[in-house]
């Protein structure tokens, strides 16, 4: 679609599934009700390392309503076949956690038994009756200790990038900064808990599962159980938020299928809020050193970025934390390293903008420190180091609207009114601070398929096994299809979340619009061409004519399927979305509180399919970044090896009162290379850059660098007291 003027694309269409969601008509995975459904409760370990010496299930088995108790004693030995190619959503080295296959304990909160009962209450009660004795072994539960002897990730993308001689350049630089930043462990905390319903029919399995990727769920479970993929159907029409937590197929999915097999009836397994802090993944704690050297005019001469993140004992979960540093600014001398600190903890996993949000926050906080050291305005410093091409991949950009983003956001924010000296912008007793940061996120795309059915009533159904965890996949795909088919959105229905549908890639990495959108468009263009062929028309056929054409041919419907895949353009261009974030903070110097009255973000993210859902994405991303800056952290107790604030009352995501004014603008960006739709995705870029913009603003307000997140009142007061 080179012609970007359009009837439906780019319009603020309201969510097509909005009504179903607010009325409760939308059926989430945990709400399906196969006959004879039994309920499962998971028993978890209470030590971080060792072996189960004895497990007594008799009291649980005798408890009312209990169908069975699955433990490592009676659970079937599963083959856990390895996959020909590991899905990108899994760690690339190590072995996934095998559930109920033996007595070994690798982390606190590890599933060690499953109780199946007639009701959930009976199951949870009986789960508490399972008594376990352990032989504990020494555990690595202190990050600082694990980080002392970190190791390279066993596989995956290279994380050690280098050009020039960064260390020598740093030593010779007229201006330099060198600091360490600490970002705590975070949990996704989607409102919908993870839940799986498993139902066997002979050797065929249906899974209703909370997942961002039905296709991979099917493949993984097929390998775990050693059954053909065709025997499994995964259904997941709605996802109540996931943020990356439902990319992988977690052990509880296996547990649900195993329990259903053992029970000979469908089983529903839903994790409790507390279990969501150990049974699925999290954003790893990451400690990063960033050293920057520059000429007196601020032009970078050296960039060093070293990061250590934690992972489990059984898998190497590695992030692309240091990768953006290699491309974001122009610099001849660069060195990056990423290392892992294995601990007795469950494996981390991607959380919105994985790695990138972490690496960029350190780099952007360091850039702010450099701006101060060089006596240059932070925005000007970024402009002086603007990268005209990707110096990491040595490729031109497919498009880069970052200059526009800087200009637009700075104007909307009023950045030119900033007084440079920290602490110079008081308002009464409050210290006011203005800060900014750059945002970036790679634009990826994967192969996808979609099908279209045009019916003789003039409606169309478009299908792809994609997912919609909240961004508005249903709506945006409906718009793309309606546009290509020349139908009003009301006449098009999009279906997703079912392995019976044409294949779609993972709903993560901001690729859904680019990947599935391209397939939907291709299928719809092909369907429209088919209609034209049927009508023998010379001119493009109109959507309003479909019904007549089909009836004339006595056809109830036509079916078309199409595939779309990235091509050579991926090798010729470097593709990224960019953004600029500006933040104002107000610090109460006596009480230590930091509040953010406004955030302004401008994004260059290619074509915007739906400005309404796009804005929602950005607003959500800003709120995530705000939480990371000021309140979110999973509070880890070294002694027990567990998260102690494992509930939504004490894991502090921002509330409405924390989020007063969010200003979102999309700069015009026409990218002919990224994909046929010209979209770059918004899910992750929107979360990046917010945290450092706020942290930099806090420095501007107080004159103090808070390099350990989140910036809570206790830290602010300690910092101010030292001043």
């Amino acid at each position: 679609m080179t012609d970007q003027s359009s009837a439906v694309i780019g319009k603020p269409v309201s969510r097509v599934d909005g009504r179903a969601k607010v009325t409760g008509a939308a059926t989430y995975a945990g709400e399906f009700r196969p006959d004879r459904l039994a309920h499962a409760a998971v028993v978890t370990s209470s030590i971080p390392a060792g072996r189960i010496r004895a497990l007594f299930a008799d009291a649980a088995e005798a408890s009312p309503g209990v169908v069975l108790v699955a433990t490592h004693h009676n659970a079937p030995r599963l083959p856990y076949n390895s996959m020909a190619q590991r899905p990108q959503v899994d760690p690339q080295a190590g072995d996934q956690l095998r559930v109920l296959q033996g007595p070994e304990i690798q982390f606190n909160g590890q599933p060690i038994a499953v109780v199946v009962a007639e009701t959930l209450e009976q199951a949870t009660h009986a789960a508490a009756l399972v008594r376990v004795e352990y032989d504990p072994t020494p555990a690595v539960t202190r990050f600082e200790e694990a980080a002392k002897s970190p190791r390279k990730p066993g596989a995956g993308k290279p994380t050690d990038l280098a050009r020039g001689d960064a260390d020598a350049a740093l030593a010779a630089a007229p201006v330099s900064v060198d600091a360490t930043y600490d970002q705590p462990m975070e949990h996704h905390n989607a409102i919908e808990p993870h839940v799986t319903i498993a139902a066997w029919d002979g050797d065929r399995l249906t899974l209703w599962d909370k997942t961002q990727w039905v296709g991979n769920d099917r493949a993984e479970i097929a390998h775990v159980f050693g059954i053909p993929e065709e025997n499994i159907r995964v259904v997941s029409p709605f996802v109540g938020g996931a943020f990356g937590s439902a990319l992988r197929t977690w052990p509880h999915v296996t547990l649900a299928a195993m329990a259903a097999k053992m029970a000979g009836r469908p089983v529903k397994l839903e994790l409790t809020r507390r279990q969501l802090f150990s049974a699925i993944g999290f954003r790893p704690r990451t400690v990063q050193r960033v050293a920057l050297g520059a000429e007196a005019d601020g032009r970078l001469t050296a960039v060093i970025h070293e990061a250590v993140g934690h992972t489990s004992q059984y898998e190497d979960y590695a992030e692309t934390t240091v990768e953006p540093t290699a491309m974001l600014y122009s610099c001849r001398n660069l060195r990056t390293a990423y290392r892992l600190a294995p601990m007795n903890i469950n494996s981390p996993c991607p959380m919105r903008a994985p790695g990138v949000i972490t690496g960029v926050l350190a780099l952007e906080m360091a850039m702010d420190e450099l701006a101060e050291a060089a006596g240059i305005d932070p925005l000007e410093l970024r402009l002086r180091n603007y990268a005209e091409r990707d110096e990491n991949k040595d490729l031109p950009w497919s498009s880069k609207g970052l200059r526009d983003c800087y200009r637009t956001a700075a104007e909307r924010f009023g950045w030119s009114g900033r007084s440079a000296a920290p602490g110079s912008m008081r308002d009464g007793r409050e210290l006011v601070g203005w800060g900014m940061a750059t945002a970036v996120y790679p634009t990826h795309r994967a192969a996808a398929s979609a099908s279209v059915v045009i019916r003789d009533d003039g409606t169309a159904v478009v299908r792809s096994a994609a997912s919609d965890m909240g961004p508005g996949t249903y709506t945006a795909m409906t718009q793309v299809a309606a546009e290509a088919l020349d139908l009003p959105v009301e006449r098009v229905r999009f279906e997703l979340g079912d392995t019976d549908l044409p294949k779609a890639p993972v709903h993560g990495g901001s690729i859904t619009m680019a990947s599935v959108g391209s397939a939907v468009q291709a299928a719809c263009v092909a369907a429209r061409a088919r209609m034209r062929a049927l009508s023998n028309a010379v001119d493009p056929v109109r959507g309003a004519d479909y019904a007549g054409i089909l009836r004339r041919h006595g056809l109830p419907q036509v079916d078309v399927e199409a595939d779309a895949a990235p091509g050579i353009e991926q090798k010729r261009f470097s593709m990224y979305a960019f953004g600029a974030i500006f933040a104002e903070v107000r610090v109460d110097p006596n009480l230590g509180t930091v509040r953010v009255p406004r955030l302004v973000g401008a994004y260059g993210s290619g074509r915007i399919i739906n400005p309404k859902t796009a804005r929602s994405q950005c607003v959500g991303g800003m709120v995530l970044g705000l939480g990371m800056a000021l309140s979110e952290q999973s509070e880890w107790d070294d002694r027990f090896g567990k998260v102690m604030n494992a509930n939504l009352a004490e894991y502090l995501v921002p509330v409405n009162a924390d989020v007063p004014h969010l200003d979102v603008t999309f700069v015009d960006e026409h990218d002919p290379h990224v994909n046929p739709l010209g979209v770059k995705g918004l899910a992750e870029i929107a979360a990046v850059g917010v945290t450092p913009a706020i942290a930099n603003a806090v420095h501007h307000a107080t004159g103090i660098r808070f390099r350990s997140l989140p910036i809570t009142p206790d830290k602010v007061l300690a910092g101010l007291a030292k001043r």
Binding site: G592, E635, D637, N647, L652, A657, P713, L717
Partner: protein, 327 residues
């Protein structure tokens, strides 16, 4: 959840009679705290007795005192025009508590009796003297950023979480207790115990005791009162530190003063020493600051909560300054 029998009390005596005999049912009011404790198995009562059907509502003003039924919801008390006018600190403390949804459900008696937010207390896999006497206190050398610095012992340093209780303690409020042997009244200040060697004994209530009402006397300090609460996020979080203050003015001098603080004590904490430094003085930043400087006397910080010492002084100062029109 542990299986339990459920009884809906028909009369207050149902509660006192059943309550004073095994299995000593837990009283269910709004359930906003009790349900959390049941789900986490911190409480495993064999029986729940639901008091929501009892006639324990109503806010009545009589002889310069406000009588608030135990089942009055937090939102109802917070929005009452008389409370807003003559006991503003009560309204403010409530409105800064929890969320609108929780306040619509939660009762004022339940609020006073909510259990600590200490994360170890709420995780049954970790040692906790308050939950399981004799097992040890995980917070002493653990994550204790939210814990108390006043009234602690080497057995427990848990902070009392209620905001309302802080306001009530400042205003000399009392609670009516109906027990198996009749009715009694206790100052809110004496309702909770210090942890000492027995942190599991949280209040002076005995099995079978039912709080029927609270009484909040009117006073010059009550009508001129204020609440300041400090927390990480802007709302929907318990206090890191809070202060309830009241000033009764006699022309240019402070005739009477009330100062109570939250988030820092193992029970709602009245600061009489600070009050006495205010009484008889002319209000002003110097006087407020000098008085507030004594707020943390005797504080015993323990690791992550050391910041509360200074924050406490600042919070009391701020509350006084805002109330005294100096901020």
């Amino acid at each position: 959840m542990h299986p339990f029998a459920y009884t809906a009390a028909q009369t207050p005596q149902d509660v006192t009679t059943r309550g004073s005999h095994p299995p000593h049912p837990d009283i269910l009011a709004g359930g906003t705290d009790l349900l959390q404790l049941l789900k986490e198995r911190v409480r495993t009562p064999a029986e729940l007795i639901d008091i929501n059907g009892l006639d324990l509502g109503g806010i009545v003003e009589k002889n310069g005192c406000l009588r608030v039924g135990a089942l009055v919801r937090m939102s109802e008390l917070a929005e009452d025009p008389r409370v807003k006018r003559d006991w503003p600190v009560v309204s403010k403390a409530l409105l800064e508590s929890a969320s609108a949804q929780v306040r619509n459900m939660a009762t004022i008696a339940g609020n006073l009796l909510q259990r600590t937010r200490c994360p170890y207390f709420r995780d049954v896999t970790t040692p906790c003297n308050r939950r399981d006497p004799g097992t040890g206190c995980s917070a002493l050398d653990g994550l204790n950023r939210i814990h108390a610095i006043l009234g602690t012992s080497d057995r427990c340093i848990a902070a009392h979480p209620s905001d309302l209780a802080v306001a009530l303690v400042a205003l000399d409020a009392r609670v009516s207790i109906l027990g198996p042997d009749g009715e009694d009244e206790v100052a809110v200040e004496n309702l909770h115990r210090l942890p000492g060697d027995t942190p599991h004994m949280e209040t002076v209530l005995q099995p079978g005791d039912l709080i029927t009402a609270i009484h909040i006397p009117a006073s010059g300090c009550a009508s001129r009162s204020h609440y300041v609460k400090v927390r990480d996020r802007a709302t929907f979080e318990w206090a890191l530190v809070s202060a309830a203050v009241g000033l009764d003015m006699d022309g240019g001098t402070i005739r009477d003063a009330r100062v109570a603080v939250g988030g820092v004590g193992t029970k709602p904490w009245r600061l009489r020493a600070v009050e006495s430094l205010l009484i008889g003085k002319a209000p002003g930043p110097q006087v407020f600051k000098a008085a507030a400087d004594r707020a943390a006397d005797g504080a015993q910080p323990r690791g992550d909560n050391a910041y509360k010492v200074e924050l406490l002084k600042h919070t009391v100062t701020r509350a006084l300054m805002e109330l005294g029109g100096c901020a």
